[in-house]
């Protein structure tokens, strides 16, 4: 079981859940499981062409998957996936 950590701006699309558990062998499978369960999340994570949006980073534990095998990165039991979008709040 892999835990996917959902950042605050995206929790409105997961029924306010801060984490979603999925069964998956790779990061791609995990994200696909996530968007299958919460379809509204899809357009926030993926472009129309199906590419991961560049203002959203996906981490396996504490490593950016861009520097691993990207979405093909294999998941071990107990791993967690973090979705880290850019946020800008600071003054207002």
């Amino acid at each position: 079981m892999t835990k996917i950590l959902i950042p605050t701006p995206l929790r409105q699309y997961t029924g306010k859940q801060p984490t979603v558990d999925v069964e998956a062998g790779t990061v791609a499978e995990a994200l696909s499981g996530l968007t299958a369960r919460h379809p509204e999340l899809r357009r926030h994570l993926y472009t129309e062409e199906g590419k991961l949006r560049s203002f959203v980073n996906v981490y396996l534990n504490d490593e950016d998957v861009r520097y691993l095998q990207k979405e093909a990165t294999a998941i071990k039991d107990g791993d967690s996936i973090s979705i880290v979008p850019s946020i800008a709040g600071g003054r207002e």
Partner: protein, 391 residues
């Protein structure tokens, strides 16, 4: 850890007896000592923004004895700022943030040279401004400025101590050092406008910029002192509700257009264009039918058959409402069957932004008689019912 701050010039940063007494709690620690305090005094830090993040950041840097503190802000203190922008007081509402901030900083520590820049940071002034400082601390609230600050820091070789917040989550790191990543290494592109809500739309826990702003101040001080483990190459994630702090590894992207091996960003660009914003960010494009609060009032009083749809959240409905049927914007796709497309619908939210999206959605779903209440319930409170609370 290598830093990019200049060596302290002892004669320029000599401490008077008064300063030695003031900073005694720093001086008796080996990690600071006289040498460290002199480095602080010789340091020049630029704070972009005197708001949520800028308030605690600047206050603590002044208290710590940073010799020169530049502040950039062109805004005026608003009543709603006081919930978190602790450098400003009730009596400062309506006053320039810069004046209010400079006054408090000087009161805390008259030894600090506070340099105020009442300007909107832009591609025209950023480089020149950054060159006069050693470290930049980014406390801004919008994506175009974050990219501007990052690029200007990379181009001028100044570290960018980054902090950002949303509701009860924050991020902090140190970007744009020689060996470390820059903001673009993490986020090569900004989100399209409207996809990530601002604090005014999403709300923010008042203490959160306090937590993150002081983390930023801590990182600034560590860079100046050359002590401790900096957040260079690490993204600190703060969740205030669960009080969990996590860390993610940040790598320098070798192909980063700003700081990588083959840089394509050699000058500052039009950041509004880069972030997809044309002029003022207006709620949704043309094709949205709008209705003014006066007309709504007139038609409701005349008992016309209008369906008022409130797309705010339940907790907002409790603050004030005009009796509309509540379907939060996020639930609208699921609950659209509660609406009768043969009836005329007026959608409203707090200020008109979310309801414009609702109208757009309903129009796409085939609803022909939907209007957006321009200005939202705030406009209603302003012009129709002054007894209604505003929030």
């Amino acid at each position: 850890m290598a830093t990019t701050t200049p060596e302290a010039k002892p004669e320029a940063a000599a401490l008077s007896n008064e300063e030695i007494l003031r900073y005694s709690r720093h001086l008796i620690m080996p990690e600071v000592g006289m040498e460290g305090q002199q480095k602080l005094k010789a340091a020049r830090v630029l704070c972009i923004g005197a708001g949520g993040l800028g308030s605690p950041l600047a206050l603590y840097l002044a208290a710590a004895g940073v010799g020169t503190l530049g502040i950039v802000d062109f805004d005026v203190v608003d009543y709603t700022n006081l919930q978190r922008q602790i450098i400003h007081a009730t009596a400062d509402v309506g006053r320039k943030k810069l004046e209010s901030a400079a006054e408090k900083l000087t009161a805390i520590n008259p030894f600090v040279n506070v340099r105020a820049f009442e300007t909107r940071l832009s591609s025209a002034n950023a480089l020149e401004l950054f060159r006069e400082f050693d470290i930049v601390a980014d406390g801004t609230d919008n994506f175009p400025t974050r990219y501007l600050v990052n690029d200007a820091c990379v181009l001028t070789g100044k570290p960018n101590v980054y902090g950002s917040i949303f509701r009860f989550e924050g991020q902090a790191s140190v970007f744009a050092t020689e060996e470390g990543p820059c903001y673009r290494c993490l986020y090569p592109e900004p989100p399209p406008p409207g996809l990530v809500p601002s604090c005014a739309e999403g709300g923010v826990l008042g203490i959160l910029p306090g937590l993150v702003g002081v983390i930023q101040a801590t990182e600034v001080i560590k860079l100046i002192l050359g002590k401790g483990d900096s957040l260079i190459g690490r993204l600190l994630l703060v969740d205030a509700l669960s009080m969990k702090f996590r860390e993610l590894k940040l790598r320098k992207n070798p192909d980063c257009p700003a700081c990588g091996g083959h840089r394509t960003i050699t000058k500052l660009i039009d950041y509004n264009e880069f972030c997809g914003i044309r002029g003022e960010e207006k709620p949704v494009a043309g094709g949205i039918s709008e209705i003014q609060v006066e007309e709504l009032k007139r038609r409701l009083d005349a008992k016309e058959d209008l369906f008022v749809l409130d797309v705010r959240e339940p907790h907002e409905y409790q603050i004030c409402n005009i009796g509309g049927h509540l379907i939060p914007l996020g639930d609208l796709p699921r609950r659209v069957n509660e609406l009768d497309s043969s009836r005329e619908i007026v959608a409203h939210c707090r200020s008109g932004v979310r309801s414009a999206k609702a109208v757009d959605f309903l129009q796409q779903a085939g609803f022909k008689k939907v209007h957006n209440l321009a200005g939202g319930i705030l406009a209603w409170a302003d012009r129709i019912d002054p007894k209604m609370p505003k929030y």
